[in-house]
Structure formats: structure tokens, C-alpha cells
Symmetry: C2
Subunit: 397 residues, 2 copies
């Protein structure tokens, strides 16, 4: 049984703040501070260039990749880390398209994170040749998979409502139609049990600054199914994905593993922080996390619906259909969230009218969830949101 | 007059180590440690998601870009930061090619950093359409520029020998032939005076972990000439390059500035370290740095040639033709460098036979350079390199 009282002590959480935004940026792991000091003073400061060997910086991306792999059902040696999620989406989609050169359609849905669609748009425009990004409503994805589809590019959990796609089912449908399945696990990894192997995903990508608590702009990851590890074409063919980067050959020769998806010099400091953050998952069962997440979110929904009749649940009511977040709709959603934040409950707003809350059992208790609902009740009852200060949106919400 | 005694105090340098590898990884800036503690404890730890606004994380990439811009002659608002140099090469080359769709040749040279060639190879293979990477010897680049060339992709300073290309001259030649000039400044920024504006470069990219001391795997930068800022096509069209990232529109609309070259969520911790590292350049004149760099490297060459007759200078003898590094050839170069490192002088080896030394006046004194030559003399005279322990190459050299 996972000891969530113990995992809670592994994170810094400001006194008096109820943090329901771990789906956007996880909190600071206590272990990160000592690790960063060590990387700066002892490794970089004391060893300088020698630290690539002496501190094994060169293998840090693979080590961290394997730790993430354990959380998403990926075998050792099948996850590479580095760059940002956008770059990894680009690589995965390009590699997938190269496996189906005779087909022209990338299928995605309007519930996908817009950045994934932007990346697909940029890639398809550059490649030309009649490639098309076909967008359907989330509920129409399954029916839209046919033998014109080269690649399905789907985010498992909707960033707005938490609605969850059937990863295994859609992958099977894609494979039956001869398509390659690329999955974005940004709101899945560390949030819900994921098994890329049993779901038979071809490629999967994700970020680590949400449920994995790697810090703002932490490195991303990419999984390549072992069957494609030696043939996937890395469009971003950088020197760290070369079979022998330090031979400095003029010709590119991809590494015979997922390492080919590495691009440039790895971000050592950020990887070290992520590595320290992943310590919190040692001994943690994702089944326990899932059970606790459902308990927390169900309780929150019940409390909010009882206390705030003006808010409408935007997430699926069935917890099996959700990731680890819950959203409500209200025309004044933006101002409501600003008022909540001013009153120490941190969630976030997503256009046009969603207030969004993430549930992270590693550091969130049921008491805190109930307290958050009480503050939300006060914001609604006393119309605390009706303040001119909350009318203007800032750049980042 | 730049006070190099003062700048030296801004860096941690291990007692007893002579560091001549700042062209590979700059040393730890003293200011980085406090800055990182602040980002972790106060910003991430204390503010969590709110820090995107309250600590202005969202604008950090642009602020750091402008500071780098001052070192390379780029106007405010023309440099974006993030990702790795490989990713930025990919973006610059793709954007440049899109400006010359009717041409098929990317011209580079065999002295370019292999990673740039790998990236070009990956991009051109993906784009297809008869695009060709044409490689010539470095001394033949000027003559090879003709009206078949879409883009020149040139690294100003050769990573092996320090040989320097004529940036303004080759750019003028490229423009006269109707080509777009992309410059890699990896071994230039912070090493020598660079002026992308007077050289009329179209795109320029660089890394920040060498002469700019940003740390292992620090974020890269990209300069886009203002004339292309609103039309360059960002093939990696990520959400942070969107005109309104937080509108979460389904359609991509590039930012009307160099910000369109941003891709994913910025690496805040790494950018903060880089920002702290750039403090060391405040009040520093690049002309002074250049004069000091020439003094150091001329002295080193004179001392080594007098003391070590078996080593052959591989760098141009004329300092005007060099960046801020010097290399010597010897068939036992690898073992010689290992012996040097074991005797506290840190340079590096580059295949097949180069021992390489970087000169960084911000923290390197003339006395240290002479001492390094004396150690090298001892390594050669006493054949300290002739040790079985130095025969096998490690993964990273």
C-alpha cells in the first residue's frame, strides 16, 4: 500500500496554499535542492568538462528515460528524454509518417492540446505532398480511422475536461486500418496507470513538468516501440542520436535504439532535477495513485455540486472516463479562478469558460480538497469574483 | 578597459586546475548558485504556477535573448532562446529553404560541426524534392557559391582548428548569388567580436554552454534578421511561438517577431542559470576580450613551439584567421591529452589527432597559459602519455 503521508513530505508546499494545479506545474520536490547544489558545486564547478564521464552526465538522459518508462509500461531502453514535448511530438509524427509513405492523412481531434496540432501543421506544411491534418470531434475519432489514415495523433487525456480516450481500443483500431498510433501522454504520465506495451502504442510522448514534478520547462520524453527502434527515422538527426557521436563522422548514422531520438547536448541540470523528482515514485503503485485520485476527484465533485449550484461539471461524470483532473464551466470562469487564487486555492482557467483542478495524491489530501470546495463556495456565494481586478486577463492564466 | 581580474572572480575554478576547455564547457559562474536557489525555493517552491507571471518566467527567454543579442550585434527583439543548437540549426535551415523554394542546394563545408551536417541531412531527406547537401573544403566555400545555392550553412569558427571564415565576405557572396546565409556561432559568441547586423546575416544560431558559460546543455539561441521576422516559416511551430499561446486556438498563427522561433515550454531553471552567467559580460568590451584572447593564444603557441618540437600547429598562424582556440597535431594526441588532464591541464582531444585548447580571458590569465605549456612540455619530454591507461578512448573525450 502506497504511503501517501510519506510521499507528501517529499514536496515543498507553501503554508496555507491548496494546490490543485499539479496538472500544470508540479511542486518542488525536496530532493531537488540538494541535487542541484551537487550538480552545480561538485560536478559542474569541480569537475567541469570531465563530469560528462566522471558524473556520468552522458548517460543521464537514458537513466531518466528508464525511470519514466517504468511509469508508462515501457521496457528498459525504450524511452529517450530531452527537448520539449513539442519537439518530441514533431519527431514522433515525422517518424510515424515515414513508416506510411503512401498515406496522406494525420488524424487528430479538436480535444487535442493545440500545441500538438500546431506542430503537426508545421510539419505537414513543410513536407507538402498532399499531407493533410484531419480533425474530428473527440467522440468521432474511432469512426474516422480508415485506411486513408497514416497516423493517429491523439492525446489520451483532454487538457481541458480530463476526458480520457481509450488508448488500447483506438490503437487496435488504428492498427487494424494499417495506421501508426502516436500517443501524447502529457496528462497521463504520473496521473493514471499507463501501459504503452499492452496498449501496443507505436510512439508515445509526454512532458514531465506536470504530474512528474520535474520543474518549469523540464525535459520531455519519447517512447518508441521496440519494433521500430532500429528503423524509425529521426527527422531531427542530431549528434547525440548518432551511433558514435564522438567519432565526429561527417555522415549521420542513427543509434540502433531509441537513443536515435536524442538530438542535441542534454540539459544536465534540468535532467538532474527531474531525476530527483522521480525519486518520489519509488515504491509508489500507480493503482494506488489511481484509486486515491478517483477518491479525491469524486469527493471534490460532490462537494462543489452541493455547494456551488451555478457551476456545471464539464468533465465526464464517470471517473473511469477521466484522467486526474476535473473542470467546471461558468461564464465568469476567468474571474472566478482569479478570486480563488487570491484566496489561496490554486487551479487554473482554460478558455472559454473552464475552471480546472488537478488531483495529485502524492501530495494532496482529502481534507485539502474539501477545504478547496469551501473556498470555492465562498467565492461564488459572496461573488468575490465580481471585482474589476479580475476582469482583465494576464498573458498566462 | 575591461577589468579581467574582476571578471575572474565571477567564476568558480578548482584550485590547481588550468582550464583550457572553456570552448567546450564554460566554468560555473558564482552568481548561478544563488540564482538557482532563488528559482527553486522562492519562485518554483513558493509561487508554483503563479511564477509564470509573478517571477516573469514567461518573458525570460526574450530577456536572455536580448542579452545574447548585445554580444553578437543583434538588435533588441531579434534573438530567441531555448532548445538546443541542433534544434535551432534545423529551424534556421528550414526557414531559409522556405525562402528559396526554387533552389535545391544547401552549401556547407567539411569543417562544419558534424552535428550541423547531420541535422541538415535529416531535414533534407524528410523534405525530399531533390534537395542536396553539397559539402566542399572550407577554403573552397567562396568559389562554390553560385546561383544553384539556396542556403549557405556555415560555422564561423572551425571546432577543430579554430580556423575562422570571413562572415561578412561569404554573406555578401551568398546574397550576390541570391542565397540565404545561415551562420552557426557556437565557437564565436563570447569568443570573438560578432556583428550579425553589419555582416548582414539572415539567420544565426549558437549554443551558450561554451564561451557564454551557461552550463552543460544550456539553452541555445537563434537570430532572425528583422527583414524576415514576420515571414520566416517556423517548421517547429510550437505553442510558445504562437501569436497568442494562451488563447488555445486550434489554428497556428505565428508570432509577429523572432518569438515565432520559440517552440515548447521554456526551460526556466536553465535559462535562469544562463541569465546569471551573462552577468559576467556586463561592462565587458568584446574588443578587449579579443585583444586578450590573441595575447593568450599567441603566447601559448610561442611557448609550446619552443618547448614541444614534436607538436605541429594545426590552427592558422595568423591570429586574425583564428577564433579563440588553438590546436596542435600529434599521432598520439589522445594519450597526450589524457596525460595533460591527469596533470591538471584541461583541454580536449578531437579525432583523429588534435589536442585542442580554448582561450577565455574572462577567467584565464597569461601565467596560467605559460604554466599549461610547461606541463605540456613535461608530458612530451617524459613521455607521460605513453601509459597503457591512456590507450583506450572513453565514450566522451
Amino acid at each position: 500500500m502506497t504511503d501517501f503521508a510519506a510521499t507528501r513530505r517529499l514536496f515543498h508546499l507553501p503554508e496555507g496554499m491548496i494546490y490543485l494545479d499539479g496538472n500544470s506545474l508540479g511542486p518542488l520536490p525536496v530532493a531537488a535542492e540538494a541535487r542541484v547544489r551537487d550538480v552545480l558545486a561538485r560536478e559542474w564547478g569541480g569537475e567541469l568538462i570531465k563530469a560528462w564521464n566522471s558524473a556520468d552526465w552522458i548517460n543521464l538522459p537514458a537513466q531518466v528515460g528508464d525511470r519514466i518508462g517504468r511509469l508508462i509500461g515501457a521496457p528498459v531502453g525504450s524511452v529517450a528524454t530531452g527537448d520539449t514535448l513539442s519537439v518530441k511530438v514533431f519527431q514522433a509524427l515525422a517518424a510515424a509518417l515515414a513508416l506510411r509513405p503512401e498515406r496522406k492523412v494525420v488524424l487528430s481531434d479538436t480535444g487535442n492540446f493545440p500545441s500538438d496540432l500546431y506542430i503537426a501543421d508545421g510539419l505537414l506544411k513543410a513536407l507538402g505532398g498532399g499531407l493533410e491534418l484531419r480533425l474530428v470531434a473527440p467522440e468521432d475519432v474511432a469512426d474516422a480511422i480508415d485506411d486513408s489514415v497514416a497516423v493517429t495523433l491523439i492525446t489520451e487525456v483532454d487538457y481541458r475536461t480530463g476526458r480520457r480516450h481509450d488508448m488500447a481500443g483506438l490503437t487496435a483500431k488504428a492498427h487494424a486500418a494499417g495506421a501508426i498510433a502516436v500517443w501524447d501522454l502529457a496528462h497521463s504520465a504520473g496521473a493514471i496507470p499507463v501501459d504503452v506495451t499492452s496498449a501496443d502504442a507505436d510512439f508515445a510522448v509526454g512532458c514531465t513538468y506536470k504530474y512528474l514534478n520535474g520543474g518549469p520547462g523540464a525535459p520531455a520524453f519519447i517512447y518508441v516501440a521496440p519494433r521500430f527502434a532500429e528503423c524509425a527515422r529521426p527527422i531531427l538527426s542530431g549528434w547525440m542520436g548518432h551511433e558514435a557521436p564522438f567519432a565526429f563522422d561527417l555522415d549521420y548514422r542513427p543509434h540502433r535504439s531509441v537513443e536515435r531520438m536524442r538530438v542535441g547536448t542534454p540539459p544536465v541540470l534540468a535532467l538532474a532535477v527531474l531525476d530527483a523528482a522521480l525519486d518520489a515514485w519509488e515504491g509508489v503503485s500507480m493503482a494506488d495513485v489511481r484509486a486515491a485520485s478517483i477518491r479525491l476527484s469524486e469527493r471534490f465533485i460532490a462537494e462543489v455540486e452541493a455547494r456551488c449550484p451555478d457551476l456545471t461539471l464539464a468533465s465526464p461524470r464517470d471517473p473511469a472516463m477521466r484522467g486526474s483532473q476535473v473542470s467546471f464551466r461558468h461564464p465568469q470562469g476567468y474571474a472566478i479562478m482569479q478570486a480563488l487564487i487570491a484566496n489561496t486555492v490554486i487551479g487554473d482557467f482554460r478558455a472559454p469558460d473552464l475552471v480546472r483542478f488537478g488531483f495529485t495524491p502524492l501530495y494532496l489530501s482529502e481534507d485539502a480538497v474539501v477545504d478547496a470546495a469551501k473556498v470555492l463556495e465562498r467565492v461564488m456565494r459572496e461573488r468575490l469574483w465580481d471585482d474589476p481586478a479580475y476582469a482583465t486577463r494576464s498573458a498566462v492564466t
